[in-house]
């Protein structure tokens, strides 16, 4: 089987002969979503242009920002978390700037780099779009970076964590989140200093993301690593891995991978009598981890993430703006990403060139951290540890 990651590089996500090869459903759904979004926008467009026409400022009518990321498909949850977070920022902006309203058009990539490339062309050709929130995932960010850079259209991603993305020399690519390379050393530190583990068993899921993270942790732990194994995505029976862990006498397990496998792994480890700690990265930070593991087995697990927990204030606004939905992973970063762009529009940066310049020189406090970009990377690095307790993911605390 080919790997099928979901957070960072949903690429030509491989389920050898399954849905990915037959695209009818996807295409139909995308069409429907695009059509619906188009309808909604024509409606919004008319109202906003009529209001701006009367205001008499130099604000161009029908100004738009775009969201590029998954709204449907297997990775929809994360994409929706981000676009909903951006909604809150948009709502804040429109309340404060009723004379120059902005709308956000969502482009649903389903997390697929191929679809994102086509959508990027559409976005670039729509001259009323001055900034992009996204692309959400690393795979699509990599695939569209050249196009956006060529068009001089600024993008701010809430969740693309592949360290390599800022090495291409793109002036338009920005992210408000720390990278995978920042996460692994902090994870290793937490295992050493907070968990005080002496024997750590490190497992990865053979994906680019999972292996990268696990290798970073292996490096950080050095000779505390007592054993290694690699599993596969979509694997459900981990009996051989469980045997390896229990016979190694490890007191902590680190898993680099995604929540579906992480959940089954911890469940089967606990069933075999494993009593030590369990830790995983942002790929496992999802309620689906607890769903798969069951509350009993999941309790006590530690999941780390460069994403910040949502404050009570933000949660209240988020629920009000998104018909009661709870904020999730990367919602607060979605707010920050949109806010970086919208604050520029509020300052009168109505063209792509002005706005790009604004973002490149941005230096302000955001919701999650102080935001200032260094070649596209955010200069403040914070990794949060989220503990599972009482069948829920508890709010994270920064690893110090």
């Amino acid at each position: 089987m080919l790997p099928c990651p979901n957070l960072d590089a949903p690429p030509q996500c491989g389920r050898a002969l399954t849905e990915e090869t037959l695209h009818t459903k996807h295409t139909l759904r995308t069409l429907a979503v695009v059509a619906a979004a188009g309808l909604a926008l024509t409606a919004c467009g008319t109202t906003s242009s009529s209001s701006t026409a009367s205001s008499g400022s130099n604000c161009p009518s029908g100004l738009k920002i775009a969201f590029l990321g998954a709204q449907t498909g297997d990775y929809a949850n994360l994409g929706i978390n981000i676009s909903n977070g951006a909604n809150v920022a948009l709502d804040d902006y429109n309340k404060a700037n009723s004379d120059c309203k902005v709308t956000m058009q969502k482009f649903d990539s389903q997390g697929d780099p191929n679809q994102a490339t086509k959508l990027a062309t559409q976005i670039i050709q729509d001259k009323s779009i001055v900034g992009v929130v996204g692309p959400a995932f690393s795979g699509e960010s990599g695939a569209t970076g050249d196009a956006f850079n060529g068009a001089g259209l600024v993008t701010v991603s809430a969740s693309a964590t592949d360290p390599a993305l800022t090495t291409h020399g793109w002036t338009t690519f920005h992210r408000v989140v720390a990278t995978d390379a920042d996460q692994a050393p902090q994870d290793a530190k937490y295992i050493k200093d907070t968990l005080n583990a002496k024997k750590v068993f490190v497992i990865d899921d053979s994906s680019e993301y999972g292996k990268g993270l696990a290798d970073g942790v292996r490096k950080g732990l050095g000779n505390l690593v007592t054993g290694n194994d690699a599993v596969q995505q979509k694997q459900t029976d981990f009996s051989a891995t469980v045997t390896k862990v229990t016979s190694s006498g490890a007191d902590a397990v680190f898993y680099g991978g995604y929540y579906a496998e992480a959940g089954l792994l911890i469940k089967q480890l606990k069933a075999a009598g494993y009593k030590g700690a369990f830790m995983s990265g942002d790929g496992s930070l999802d309620p689906g981890f607890i769903q798969a593991a069951g509350a009993d087995a999941a309790n006590g697990a530690i999941l780390t993430c460069p994403c910040a927990p949502s404050s009570a204030d933000f949660t209240a606004k988020y629920k009000a703006d998104n018909s009661g939905a709870e904020p999730g992973t990367y919602s607060a970063e979605g707010y920050d990403a949109a806010n970086v762009i919208l604050s520029g529009i509020a300052e009168g940066k109505y063209t792509r060139a002005d706005l790009l310049d604004w973002v490149n020189n941005y230096d302000q406090d955001g919701l999650t951290k102080h935001i200032k970009f260094n070649k596209g990377d955010v200069s403040t690095v914070v990794i949060y540890a989220y503990k599972v307790g009482g069948g829920k993911i508890q709010p994270g605390t920064p690893i110090k």
């Binding site: 399954t18 690699a230 009996s239 689906g288 769903q291 069951g294």
Partner: protein, 336 residues
């Protein structure tokens, strides 16, 4: 870095544990493999949608546990009763799905004498329809306006859904340095018992004789008054029952499922059927057990990410020396 060092020490020092857990996994493979093998024996047709029959069984198990009020604290006798009921429900559900499949995806094609390739494509199509309708079940219930009442059953349609309780394992008796658990024992014994019953049914009962007759020579069987449509239905029914039971045993071991859980398991079970000799009931059993154990040994020896490589290399090697599988082909021909 650690990938290709052959770790014989580990394999030998944990030999009994790897073997017992491998047998438990292999028993599930074997039960699903029976469905492939029986349909092949009678129709010379590979029913690729059989993996979804299994997947519906896992959800039937999960939902029965939900419906009977299973919580994180259900254990002991209540849990055992819950699983016994769940197994019956799963067998019925899987059998119904299998019969539906036969009615919708196969019989119209067979009646028109269409080429076997058509039936194969129809099976692949049916497999997508079944798996995606499970993966879109939240949308489906919303369209018919049931979402509020069933949210526990349909929410998170594309995610892995687990049983609410952790099934407590008890160590029963040692084999080598491994304490065999109650789950291992239940899964292996249950699977062997079901397969023994099926084997005896096909060998000794009147209906079983019908199956063998159609497998050997459909035309003569028809001349002798065997209703071949009934026989095909019966074959699908038996395959479905076995897949349903396998699904409950799978849930007992793995504890969680999702809409595409059937895919990989189906591929493995089909491999097991071919390995043992497709069309051969006892071959499916042998193939499943060999595959399960080989996967575990292979994982121990070269790393878990190689387990599929080990399984399929083994398949190729077996087919090189025994092109018709370990026990040879055919449901009725040479050996019954």
């Amino acid at each position: 870095m650690h990938a290709l060092a052959l770790n014989f020490d580990f394999l030998f020092s944990n030999f009994s544990q790897l073997t017992v857990t491998g047998l438990a996994l292999g028993a599930v493979y074997a039960m699903v493999a029976l469905g492939y093998t029986m349909v092949y024996g009678v129709l010379q047709l590979i029913n690729f949608a059989h993996s979804e029959v299994f997947m519906y069984g896992t959800f039937a198990t999960l939902w029965t546990v939900y419906f009977m009020g299973g919580t994180a604290h259900t254990s002991g006798f209540a849990l055992a009763r819950m699983f016994a009921v769940a197994m019956v429900v799963a067998m019925v559900v899987s059998a119904l799905v299998a019969l539906l499949l036969e009615r919708v995806a196969y019989r119209p094609l067979l009646r028109r004498n269409s080429p076997q390739l058509m039936a194969l494509i129809s099976a692949i199509g049916a497999s997508f329809v079944l798996s995606e309708s499970m993966g879109l079940r939240d949308n489906i219930t919303r369209w018919i306006g049931l979402n509020d009442n069933f949210s526990r059953y349909v929410s998170g349609a594309r995610d892995t859904r687990g049983l609410p309780m952790d099934i407590q394992t008890h160590k029963l008796f040692p084999i080598g340095n491994y304490q065999v658990t109650n789950i291992d024992l239940i899964v292996i014994c249950c699977a062997l018992l079901m397969m023994l019953l099926l084997d005896q049914f096909v060998r000794r009962s009147r209906l079983g004789r019908g199956i063998r007759a159609v497998a050997q020579d459909p035309e003569s069987a028809a001349l002798m008054g065997v209703n071949s449509t009934r026989v095909v239905q019966l074959t699908f029914l038996l395959g479905g029952l076995m897949a349903g039971a396998a699904a409950t045993l799978y849930m007992l071991r793995i504890g969680a499922t999702r809409f595409d859980a059937g895919f990989i398991l189906g591929v493995k079970a089909f491999t097991a059927a071919v390995m043992g000799g497709i069309g051969n009931l006892r071959g499916a059993l042998v193939g499943g057990l060999v595959l399960g154990v080989a996967e575990n040994w292979g994982s121990a020896l070269v790393g878990t990410q190689w387990k599929d490589v080990v399984a399929f290399v083994l398949l190729v090697v077996i087919l090189l020396f025994r092109p018709t599988g370990i026990l040879g082909e055919s449901l009725g021909k040479a050996r019954v």
